[in-house]
C-alpha cells in the first residue's frame, strides 16, 4: 500500500519544527512566539497574584480562594512537609516556580498556542540553575562552606571505600541534580509535543494519501485527543516534581546529618 505524501505537510516531524521564526519577519530573530509566551506567562502570574490579593477579606472571595489554594498547596504539601517548619520561608519561591512551570507547560496543549517554552532547553536550564544556586547557597549559609562540603561529599562509609564514593557523590549532587532537573522537564515537554505532532500531522498525511487510508486519519486524531489528556496529566506532574525535587534538595542541604 503505497502512500504519496502531500508536500506541504511537514512530515515526519523533526527537531526543526521547534525552531520558530520571528513573529515579525525580518526583525530580531529572538522575538519569536516562544519569547512572547514567556512574557505572557510572567505577566499573567504577576497580575493574577496581585489582583486576587488586593484587598484580602477574612471570608475569601472566589478569586482570593483560588490564589490561596494554590499557595496553600505548595506551602503545606511541599514546603512544610518536605523541608520542615522553617521551610515556610521558601514557600513563595516554590509557589512561583510551580505556577510558572505549570503555566508555561500548559501553553503546550492550549489550542492555538500549542508550544511550550519549556520544550526549548534554555528555560528549564535556567530554572534548574536557579534551584541549584539556591540549595547550595542555603547549605553554605547554614553550615559554612567547609562543613557543607563535608556533609555533601562524605557519606557514612568505611574509609577505604571513600575514594570511590566521594567522586560519585560530587557528580551526583553538584552535576546530576541540576542537569536532570532541566532535562526531565525539557524532555517531557519535547516528547509530548513530538507525540502530538506525530498523531496530528499523521492524520493529515493519511487524509491526503490514497482513499483507503483516509478514514484511518480519524483514528489518528482520536489518539491525538487522548494523548492531549495524558499530556495534561504529565504537565501537572512535571511542574509538581520540579518543585518537590527543589524542595527536597533544599532539605538535604539544610539537614544536620553525618
Amino acid at each position: 500500500m503505497s502512500t504519496s505524501l502531500a508536500s506541504e505537510i511537514p512530515w515526519p516531524p523533526s527537531v526543526d519544527d521547534f525552531f520558530l521564526p520571528p513573529i515579525v519577519e525580518g526583525t530580531n530573530p529572538w522575538f519569536t512566539k516562544v519569547t512572547l509566551l514567556v512574557w505572557i506567562a510572567v505577566a499573567a502570574l504577576i497580575i493574577f497574584f496581585l489582583v486576587t490579593y488586593r484587598e484580602p477579606k477574612i471570608v475569601p472571595t472566589k478569586r482570593q480562594w483560588i490564589a490561596e489554594s494554590i499557595y496553600g498547596f505548595v506551602r503545606n504539601n511541599v514546603a512544610k512537609d518536605l523541608i520542615g517548619h522553617d521551610g515556610i520561608r521558601f514557600a513563595p519561591y516554590l509557589t512561583t516556580l510551580f505556577c510558572f512551570v505549570l503555566l508555561t507547560n500548559l501553553f503546550g496543549i492550549v489550542p492555538g498556542i500549542q508550544m511550550s517554552p519549556n520544550s526549548h532547553i534554555a528555560f528549564p536550564a535556567i530554572l534548574a540553575i536557579i534551584s541549584w544556586v539556591l540549595f547550595n547557597v542555603v547549605g553554605i549559609r547554614q553550615h559554612g562552606f567547609a562543613k557543607y562540603m563535608k556533609n555533601s561529599l562524605i557519606p557514612p562509609a568505611p574509609w577505604f571505600i571513600l575514594p570511590l564514593l566521594i567522586p560519585i557523590e560530587f557528580v551526583s549532587t553538584f552535576v546530576f541534580r541540576p542537569f536532570t532537573l532541566a532535562v526531565r522537564l525539557f524532555a517531557n515537554m519535547f516528547a509530548g509535543h513530538m507525540i502530538l505532532l506525530v498523531f496530528t500531522l499523521g492524520g493529515f498525511v493519511m487524509l491526503n494519501s490514497n482513499a483507503w487510508l483516509a478514514p484511518v486519519s480519524v483514528v489518528s486524531w482520536l489518539m491525538a485527543i487522548a494523548l492531549t489528556f495524558l499530556e495534561a496529566m504529565v504537565i501537572v506532574l512535571q511542574a509538581y516534581v520540579f518543585t518537590v525535587l527543589t524542595a527536597s534538595y533544599i532539605q538535604g542541604a539544610l539537614a544536620e546529618e553525618h
Partner: protein, 75 residues
C-alpha cells in the same frame, strides 16, 4: 568487495528501544510497590503517595533522556 547483506536505517531507533526497557521495568516496580503497600496497610496510602509521583518522574527522566538523545545522536 560488495556487502553481502546490509541493514539501513537509524540505529538511534534501536538505541531508544533498548533504553526504554529499564525505565519501563522501573515504573512498573514503583506502582506495584505502592499498590502492595496500600494493600498491606491502607492508612499509609496518603503518606506514600508523594513518593509515587517523585519516583515515577525520576525514573521516567531516564526514558526521556533516551528520546532526547535519540534525536541528538541520530543520523
Amino acid at each position: 568487495m560488495l556487502p553481502l547483506a546490509e541493514i539501513t536505517g537509524s540505529t538511534a531507533a534501536i538505541g531508544y528501544g533498548l533504553a526504554a526497557i529499564g525505565p519501563g521495568i522501573g515504573v512498573g516496580l514503583i506502582f506495584a510497590s505502592y499498590v502492595q503497600a496500600t494493600a498491606r496497610q491502607p492508612e499509609s496510602s496518603r503518606l506514600t503517595q508523594p513518593f509515587v509521583w517523585i519516583g515515577f518522574a525520576v525514573v521516567e527522566a531516564l526514558a526521556l533522556l533516551g528520546i532526547a538523545f535519540g534525536f541528538i545522536w541520530a543520523g
